[in-house]
Each structure stands twice: as structure tokens, then as C-alpha cells.
Symmetry: C3
Subunit: 186 residues, 3 copies
């Protein structure tokens, strides 16, 4: 029997980290994962201030010490001086994945012209995929709907956990040649 | 009463900087701003050769010494050895904004397949947004039409000047939560 | 009379480089060029393992020693730990051309949602354009169809060979102001 996949959820917000503001992004991501994933998973949530060091440390801890296969951040992707999530992500990733940011900006742009102000990106650290999302719950869902079909196979390719999704909700794509690990039904 | 926003316009061209060629890009940007902006602004124009040091110096002077909130460049974004505007922009920016280049290439691609050869980008230096545009006046207008709706709010987010636009021409987007500074009507 | 353009074709694959696997990507690129180019060209093929040093050396040799005007790679653009073609490309290029990767991911995304996992890019080294393609022959054709219209003019701009295409197949775009070299018909 396989262990549940660990998935990190990092809310990046000065106010939320000081308790001045209720974290809405983190719970929105958790709710989305509950709705979409059919394989067992264990969420690991963190709330950190908008500082490169704090965000980078949380990402490293979640990937390396906690063994997350996927880490999703929310917030800190804009042009303001305190928005540093993409810089922290780039600092800890071995490989950047530009296609995630391109596609998320494209789908957000259908809703609002300021979508081009988001600098959100994605990358690989060890056996984990890290994906930046915007801060607004509505934008979080739009972005995840766009990129989630590619996430399970991406994690396969870096030897992370095997994720499966509710196909009526998100049709995760794997090439026919990709085989599930022993004991796991596709 | 608020001071007029300063907007830098940088023509990057060896020939224009030597006076061998009439600068057409700079005036096209000026004309566009006159047409679209309803808030007062003061243009500050520069013409520099295609050299990283010259372009970077002009950007730094306009952002830091002249206090521009927006600096628009024209020219020098192609693959040729003398095309160095994106490199100079990256050298002086604290944050890069990849969504601008992505969207401008996308709209230019509807006109001409060589749009993918443009390496134009955008970024933040202090309280200023720097945006690279192509050299051709027609392409300048197409690119500005695409990204201008996001520019005023971007400048708000970096504490630059408050810009307003002729809504019949460019519908600048600001979230409902964004408030104009004291004494300025939205 | 002009010399044939040299075009490098680099298959990046551990298995193909050890002879355990038939190289299908390299021949697919060669076949595409035979079909599309009407100007004379000489292909120079290499098969290398998925290692930054090996890929970078092949690119440098093809551009600098062999005088290729265009070098096309296939394979090694995904998120896996052995996928390093984009890193090797970036290491040897003086200028990166982000528009190529953006457009190739966009067209591949119409076929398969995992297209965003490709990190393929392009760049300029001296008088050569280097373009990364995916490994699958079908995806190679889709990507080349998308970007080839811009390739001949890109190579003109870096003083490489003058390429012409079968217009019924690929309508290579050059601005009206662009003149072919002496003795070459457009």
C-alpha cells in the first residue's frame, strides 16, 4: 500500500503571517485538492511573511524535510516591493518551468487585463514541483484548473508521488507509455 | 494639487543617435500618450545608441534622477548583435515582469510571424515601470493597446504617479478596492 | 555562387547515444528540412547524452567550428533530472529568444495539456540560431511548422546563411526592406 502524497501549501502574506488577516488562499487550495484528487494526500500548510528568506526556507523544508511532491504557494507574485515569491521560488529550484506561468497568465488574462502583472512561475526542486498561484481564491481556482492536468505526470517525471484525479473534474494526462507504480490502479 | 507624472521615452538606435535617421519611434510613443492619458504628464525624451551601457544609463537617469513613473523604450529588441535593449533593461530592474513580453509578442504574432523574434520585456526599478517596445510606429501602437490597460495599476503598486486614461480608448483596470490618492478623482 | 547553409541537428538522448535506442528525432528534423527548404543545405548530425557538458560542446562545435547558421536540438527539455538541453542552450547563447518557446508550447498545448512541461527555448550564438525541439517526431513537426516562418529572417539578422523555403509549405516572412545577398533570388 502506498503512503499518502504530501502536498505543501504556503500562504505568503505579511498580514496573514501576523494574524491581522484571515488566510483565504491556503484554505482555497486545500479545498481544491480535496475536490480534485482521488489519491490519498496529506496537506502541510505554512503561512509566511513576504520575505525571500522566509518563503525560501518554507519551500526547502516542505520539499526536503517533509518530502512533499507538490508545493503550491499563494500570494506575493505582483510587482510591489514586498512581492518576492517568484524570486524565492527561483532561488530554491534546480529547474524552472516557464510554461506554467505563461498558461496561468493567459487564462487569467481572459478575466482581467492586469493578469500580466503576475510574475507567478513554477519549478522543480528534487522530487517536488513548486507552483506559484495568485492570492485571490477565485484566481487560484482558475489557475489550478488550467495547469492541474499536467501536474500528476510532471511529478511522475521527477519521481514524486503518484497522484490521480477525479476525471470528471480534471483530466490528468499521462502518455500511454507511462505506467503506474506496482499496486496502484490507474 | 498633484504634480504631472513624468514619463520617460527612450529611443534606442545607433542611426537616430548619430542624427543619420529621423527618430520615429519616440514621437509615436509621445503621440500615443497624448491620445490616451487624461491625467497630466511631462514626457522626458532620450535618444541613445544600441549599447548596454548607454541604454542602462538613460533608464537609471530617468527613473532615479528624473523621477519617472513609467519609462518606455523603442528599438533594440531583436536578435542582432547590436540589439541590447532587453539586456540593459534587465540589468537595471529589481523585478522582471514576463507577462508584458508574452502578451506583446502574442498580439504582434497576429500580424506577422517574425513577432517571435522580439525579445521585448518589462520590469520594475524603484517606483517606475520600464517597458520595451519594438521600433516600428505601427507595432508600437499595437503593443501599447495590449498592455496599457494594466499599466496604471502596476504603477500604483510600486507607489508611482496616479495615471488615468480616456476610457473610450483604453479601459485601465484597477480593482474596486484600489483607492485614488487624496484629491484625485477616479 | 553561394555555399550550402550548414544546419546542425543534435539528438539529446542517453539511450540513443549508447546505441540502445534508434534515434527518431534527428531523422525527423532532417526529413522536415528536406521537405521545406528550397535553398541548398548540408546537415551535420550529432547524437549526445543528456549531460550539460556534452550538449553544450556539441552546440559550440556546430556553431563555431562547423559554421552552422541553424542548430536544432531534439530531446531533453522536460522536468526530469536528466533533462538539461535548455540549460546547455542557455549556457552557450549570447542572447535568449523567449518567443520561440512560448509559441511552441502554445501550439503543443492545443494537442496535449502536458505541453507546459516542456522547457524548450531558443537563442543566438554568434551567427547561429539554436532552437530546442521536443523528442517526439510528431511534436517536432508541429513545433517547426509554428516557428519556421520566422527562422530565415532571424538568421539574416545575425548574418548567417540565406535560407529560402517552399512557400506552399512554409511562408517564410521577410520585411519588404530586407534584400537577399548578391546573386541570390528571393
Amino acid at each position: 500500500m502506498t503512503q499518502p502524497a504530501r502536498i505543501g501549501i504556503v500562504t505568503v502574506s505579511d498580514r496573514a503571517s501576523r494574524g491581522e488577516y484571515e488566510d483565504r488562499g491556503g484554505p482555497a487550495i486545500r479545498e481544491y485538492l480535496d475536490e480534485v484528487l482521488t489519491s490519498p494526500f496529506e496537506p502541510v500548510a505554512r503561512v509566511v511573511p513576504d520575505e525571500v528568506e522566509a518563503v525560501a526556507s518554507a519551500l526547502v523544508e516542505l520539499c526536503d524535510a517533509r518530502g512533499c511532491s507538490l508545493v503550491i504557494t499563494t500570494g506575493g507574485t505582483g510587482p510591489a516591493v514586498r512581492d518576492v515569491t517568484p524570486e524565492a521560488t527561483e532561488a530554491v529550484c534546480q529547474k524552472m518551468m516557464p510554461g506554467f506561468g505563461e498558461l496561468m497568465r493567459k487564462v487569467s488574462l481572459e478575466k482581467v487585463p492586469t493578469a500580466i502583472l503576475s510574475r507567478q512561475t513554477a519549478g522543480i526542486r528534487g522530487r517536488a514541483l513548486i507552483v506559484n498561484l495568485p492570492g485571490q481564491p477565485k484566481a487560484i481556482r482558475e489557475c489550478l484548473d488550467a495547469v492541474f492536468p499536467a501536474i500528476p505526470y510532471c511529478i511522475d517525471l521527477v519521481d514524486g508521488a503518484y497522484l490521480t484525479t477525479d476525471e470528471s473534474r480534471i483530466a490528468a494526462f499521462r502518455p500511454k507509455s507511462a505506467k503506474p507504480p506496482a499496486g496502484v490502479e490507474r
